[in-house]
Subunit: 270 residues, 3 copies
């Protein structure tokens, strides 16, 4: 067996049988493979959040085939894809950017094929549920050692859809970064590293002025929630090594109506 | 071991420990058995939806013992059951119809027993949680090869409770079908096949007139969501080979206040 | 391998990748270990409910390392802990009482260590996600047979934080007990046994007067939901051998605005 594990992420949720049925398909083909359910609670059709979670979490996963299904374009022209990375890892899912950040984190796409109905899919591929009929069986066969080239026609890797994350911008003594993720606790994750923030504004241990739209707050740059009192604001490096803006035991996103894609600005507190 | 897998469906939800505790009971008896969680998000006490999901999904599952627990009558007179089908597959759960469609899909019930407190249940069977104390241990023992006849007294298979799905009715150039399931995206699934719809009204590629109560819409009969624009209505064969009425990237059930059990009518568009 | 299973409980929920990432960490270290997800739907930061569920459910689990993460104090002074019980079982989690009831149910804590960043944690332990970086790897290593003493400095077991459940109080012909848990169906679980209730008020089969604040109801003391009509009140021993106050096919907690920590009083019906 080429891979003992399949890491599975989707926006299928938990109220229907979508996840369980994909498990059944995989186990019918590859009974010895183990499936690690990374997350199926991605907001419906939120490709970018799915891509970020995959890229962030892969560092913590055992070697595995990655199966990602957040697929608003299922049944239309978007390509169904399998990718091999420079590190020899495989990713399976739609060509809509979902896999792009994870592929980059695994050394970059080295080869890709457009999946076709074949001996490695279910006999009938339903256009409305390719997760079950195409992606799951292909992931199972890759885990069992089937070669990528047998799964479909090659696609130039430069043609694959990519997600671009806007880099932080420094101007007028401020650094402006984009909200890329809000977790269920309302913590606001930015596309900004500790090093970038320290270089442009202030180092951990100092205070920052944080701005969102017209609002500004003076906020300590700490290293743990518990360093401020409950209900107090804080800025810190989060568990995925991004800068987060948060409220200790509170919900920063709801309190200040912050959404994914918003800009947050930081400068040193004078 | 008679079966490597147990396929498990319930209405236990995910906020309590009901599912996890049943896993523990099964693993305590049969550590080598693998449990595939088909779905635990069935609406509380919704026997018919549970029965439909079991019957639809089993086709995609590896050979397994089926454990189904949607059981509003737990602790009352309804029988606890284990069934062997003509295909030699086993199903365990309450005798309220939950297992009936799956049993039919697996060749029909060939033998059934009324489960009793025995060496194959937990020592104390609590009347309020037979899922844990009776059904889970019995499923584990069946997976390990214990014979059905050892689990309780025989029940004539003709006495088992069945769920009847109302068949579609053709009248006055229309075909009327019943809503049997609404998924979390609001897609409306009917007890109607593509062949039945094509024979009575129109074939894929044509337009249909779809009616619900006093309302009617002209709707294309397509083969994928993406063939209509976002927010547009469509009729198509869904992933379980039933006809569905849906809105591309929208929620048809909420938009038109359609509920399980409602009647939807179709005729050719003139 | 010392233990084939890890029993995992947390308040991580299902919308983020927290649970899946911890699975990845465990499987990266101990690919052969099986994880039983007892429950991840504990209300955020509700240590007491987590502790009760762990203690109640362990009786049904196979021998396993217990991993519990409900941790409002993560990143502050509270100790990260591994415990060995008198029965030779291991528990891993924060020293905030979460593990205390389970440890007691497994013979009582015999030895404990304060976990440190070491060869048995991830190389970098992030203060905001010790579940991933410290507790998960330690649980995996314990399951593989690493000795407790290698994981950190000893802590006197008498210093561990404990959760105390208020015992029922008998006075003026009444017994007053505390609501310790409300499940998703709204059933109200009390820190009161059938024996205690029978000794102080009445035996199963009788009627009781149940009081909450100013309200009182006459309620039958039964042994199953189905012994009363739908929407009727009942008192019975629940599946964890505690007395529960409930409404058949209804939601007692919502109907009477009962919360965890409230007092419920029982006396014989004259």
């Amino acid at each position: 067996m080429a891979s003992k594990f399949i890491t599975f992420l989707s926006d299928f949720g938990y109220t229907d049988d979508f996840v369980g049925t994909c498990h059944g398909v995989i186990k019918s083909i590859a009974p010895e493979v183990e499936i690690i359910d990374l997350c199926h609670g991605i907001r419906r059709h939120d490709i970018r959040t799915g891509a970020l979670i995959l890229a962030n979490a892969l560092h913590y996963m055992p070697e595995s085939v990655v199966l990602g299904v957040v697929d608003p374009g299922v049944g239309t022209g978007r390509r169904p894809l399998a990718i091999r990375t420079a590190q020899g890892r495989f990713l399976v899912g739609p060509d809509n950017g979902l896999l792009s950040l994870a592929a980059a984190a695994l050394g970059g796409a080295e080869a890709a094929v457009e999946l076709a109905c074949s001996a490695y899919s279910l006999p009938q591929v339903c256009k409305t549920f390719e997760g079950r009929d195409l992606f799951s069986p292909v992931a199972a066969h890759l885990a069992q050692g089937v070669r990528l080239e047998r799964l479909g026609a090659p696609v130039p890797v430069d043609d694959l859809v990519r997600i671009e994350l806007p880099p932080p911008v420094t101007r007028d003594g401020e650094i402006a970064a984009t909200v890329i993720y809000i977790d269920r606790f309302g913590n606001v994750q930015l596309n900004l590293s500790r090093e970038q923030l320290a270089a442009a504004a202030a180092a951990p241990g100092s205070d920052l002025v944080v701005s969102h739209g017209e609002e500004s707050w003076r906020v300590p740059f700490v290293s743990a929630f518990g360093e401020v009192d409950p209900e107090e604001l804080l800025v810190m490096e989060d568990s995925y090594h991004n800068i987060s803006f948060a409220v200790n035991r509170g919900d920063a996103a709801r309190m200040f109506q912050i959404q994914v894609g918003d800009e947050i600005r930081f400068r040193a507190s004078s």
